[in-house]
């Protein structure tokens, strides 16, 4: 045996959790901004804009994140931008997140009763005012559980950034495994860390969903 799993290794893993969290937050914040734009385009009154957004969502949702990562990472480097892995992973995950969040939020906005739009129109609110003052405050409540659910998905997806050499939790696990070769132990620990990150969020999302779903109980 070359060496055994020690506190140093454990600290290295704990340290790399930070980078997983950073990447998740980066992707989530950037993706929320993009997703909001996609959502606006999706409920727009202009047909071509709606169709463009639909095409975007369908395309991104049909391509695995791994391939998106490769396209961004290799694609940009081919055009002469040597990007650090964090930026490449951030961009790819932003594109991915914006498509999914845009679709989730569109569903939430469209779930709002139609008369609310009509009533706001009677009060001579503009479309944007209606959205900002009437629809979004209510849709936010509805959209929280699936959004948190997607955040869990996103945290798990950051493990893919290990493939382009970004050192986060999974990559750190691979590095340690390469030096001591105890894959069962190392990846169990890595999996446990992911579980500790994701499980509270999953529970939160599920409990909110239960509270919102009072009528169906």
């Amino acid at each position: 045996m070359i060496g055994s799993f020690s506190w140093t290794h454990l600290w290295y893993l704990v340290d790399s959790i930070w980078w997983t969290v950073v990447l998740s937050l980066l992707a989530f914040v950037l993706g929320s901004i993009g997703g909001f734009g996609v959502m606006l385009a999706r409920i727009s009154t202009r047909t071509w804009l709606r169709n463009m957004a639909l095409l975007y969502i369908e395309c991104i949702q049909g391509i695995p994140l791994l391939i998106l990562l490769f396209i961004v990472y290799f694609g940009l480097s081919v055009y002469g931008f040597a990007l650090p892995a964090l930026v490449a992973a951030g961009i790819a995950m932003m594109v991915y997140t914006s498509a999914y969040l845009g679709d989730i939020w569109r569903g939430c906005v469209e779930a709002m009763p139609k008369p609310q739009w009509e009533a706001s129109e009677c009060l001579s609110l503009t479309r944007w005012q209606t959205l900002r003052l009437v629809i979004i405050p209510q849709a936010t409540r509805l959209s929280l559980p699936p959004t948190i659910g997607f955040l869990v998905q996103l945290i798990k997806m950051t493990s893919l950034a290990s493939v382009i050499g970004f050192v986060e939790l999974t990559r750190a696990g691979q590095i340690i495994n390469n030096s001591i070769f105890q894959p069962f132990l190392v990846f169990t620990v890595v999996g446990t860390f992911y579980f500790l990150l994701c499980y509270p969020l999953s529970r939160w999302s599920a409990s909110m969903e239960r509270k919102l779903n009072v009528s169906n109980r």
Binding site: L66, V78, P183, E209
Partner: protein
């Protein structure tokens, strides 16, 4: 800087790409079929009266749903290898996919079973149906029909997740892409081609899921046949009834066996996103 896309050097590789796509499709199909069968069993076991079984199933579902698929693959492939269990990459990848999709399918199907009204199950009990018939006819079939969209979108996600199997060098589409791009040095073009192939595959899976969904649910078949019958008899009777009123329009439906009203689709199905 002056780089232009050139797909011509990829032309000789198209059989390789197709083989990769075929393997991806095969892996997904096997994983989905086996995974859903296991998922159904787990969904029932989770609400079992034996607390130990119920807890174990809950723990399994939560453990799989809250850890990345990549780590699961590594654990299964490298971990088992270090314990002395060696298996081919294809088997390891498919096994990981089955374990993954079984947990997700169990969660989705359980949500469907929970949405079956308690009164229907009680009514079935009053009619003297056996436990197994209740489970099959009253609980499982309507449950699966209700959560079918969530299930199919999970299958699509699974097909995309199969790209991660390239990390243990199973020879599916993404791994093929890695090989081809290291052969041709045309990385961007290769991945664009593969992205397009994945798009085609996902459209294919969607169509397949739609077709299967139209075929397997008996209720939908009955409704479709009834609608066809109603349309045909409407054409036949309308000329004789020039003053077809609202009451007259109902007559064609009288040929049709009694059909339950189409249940309102739920807006939110648990487990569809996470």
């Amino acid at each position: 800087m002056n780089f232009s896309l050139d797909f011509s050097s990829l032309a000789p590789y198209w059989p390789v790409f197709l083989r990769g796509a075929w393997l991806t499709l095969k892996m997904t199909t096997v994983a989905v079929v086996v995974g859903v069968c296991i998922g159904v069993v787990i969904a029932f076991a989770k609400s079992s009266r034996n607390l130990l079984v119920a807890r174990a199933c809950g723990a399994y579902i939560e453990a799989v749903r809250n850890t990345p698929f990549l780590v699961q693959i590594f654990l299964l492939y490298f971990g088992l290898a270090s314990l002395g269990v060696h298996m081919p990459t294809f088997a390891a990848a498919v096994l990981a996919m089955i374990i993954n999709i079984a947990a997700y399918a169990a969660e989705i199907i359980r949500a469907g079973i929970d949405s079956v009204p308690r009164g229907q199950i009680e009514a079935a009990e009053c009619l003297g149906l056996s436990t197994w018939r209740i489970r099959w006819h009253v609980m499982l079939q309507p449950a699966i029909e209700r959560v079918y969209p969530a299930l199919t979108s999970q299958f699509l996600l699974m097909m995309q997740a199969s790209a991660m199997a390239s990390q243990i060098s199973a020879e599916e589409l993404t791994a093929i892409a890695n090989t081809v791009q290291s052969d041709t040095f045309r990385s961007l073009e290769t991945y664009i081609v593969v992205a397009a192939l994945y798009l085609v595959l996902s459209v294919l899976v969607k169509l397949l899921a739609y077709g299967v969904g139209e075929y397997i649910f008996k209720r939908r078949r009955t409704i479709r046949r009834a609608a066809l019958l109603a349309r045909r008899s409407a054409h036949a009777t309308l000329p004789h009834l020039p003053m077809a009123s609202a009451a007259g329009a109902l007559t064609p439906m009288s040929h049709v066996p009694f059909i339950h009203g189409v249940s309102k689709p739920r807006d939110v199905v648990e487990g569809s996103v996470s």
